[in-house]
């Protein structure tokens, strides 16, 4: 499978995970001691795609192992507790409005990824002549 499908698949997967963490943050917006959780994957994904070809290690044979950029197999998101949250008197750091705003963004980007994937699949279909009869 080529990089486009793989990277879109990864993006969809990570946005699912992010949605889950935001659901958790909002559900626990009043739980004493709960800390808002964040998920970062953009950097890891950029490293895996390696558009600029700057991160891949130099190798003199194309059969050498895929090193340096890590490839898609070792792609891991970074989940952490938000260090910038404002701590309320019960120790909770969730800001509900911020979470909802980020969730809206996440949804839009998720839909965009799905649309791109559909376009890509459409092109593949076109190439194999599925639309030509």
């Amino acid at each position: 499978m080529d990089t486009t499908v793989k990277s879109l698949e990864a993006a969809i997967k990570f946005r699912n995970m992010r949605q889950e963490l935001m659901a958790s943050n909002i559900a626990n917006a009043d739980t004493p001691g709960y800390k808002a959780k964040r998920l970062d994957f953009e950097e890891a994904l950029a490293r895996a795609i390696d558009v600029d070809n700057e991160l891949a290690m130099q190798s003199n044979d194309k059969n050498h192992f895929d090193v340096g950029n890590g490839g898609f197999n070792n792609l891991e998101p970074h989940v952490y507790e938000d260090p910038n949250g404002v701590v309320s008197e019960n120790g909770n750091t969730v800001e509900r409005d911020k979470e909802l705003a980020e969730m809206a963004e996440n949804q839009i980007m998720y839909n965009a990824a799905v649309q791109l994937l559909n376009k890509k699949l459409g092109m593949m279909k076109y190439a194999i002549g599925a639309d030509r009869d």
Partner: protein, 145 residues
Amino acid sequence: MDLMTSLRISSSGLEANKKRMGAISSNIANANTTRTVEGGPYRPKEVALGSEPARDSFADILEGEIDAQAQTVHATEVISSNRPPILKYEPNHPDANQEGYVAYPDINVMEEMANMIETGRSYEANIAVMNTTKSMAMKALEIGR
């Protein structure tokens, strides 16, 4: 970790907020109750919230560490608060004590109203998350169409 788990987390949020709302409505309704089954005036109820990892099967528990991060919320217990009752001098009241004082629960209706608004907002936020999750799941069904 998938969208169904997100839905489950949001529904745990709805459930917990419903319990909080139950306690608040009970407190407001009983703001002047001087006689209860346990004896004495009504004691205001408070709901304690706690979180736990959003995993439902043993297989999930064995899965990666990222899964342990998302948390569902639960109303862990309903506490009857120990706030001392307010004594009012009403000698003709059937629940008056020897000196003519009646013990009323110490419920601040303003405080309960503020809690109610907050609980309502919490509930709405969980609904919003649920709707977003649902539309994402529907969008995923369009892949390859």
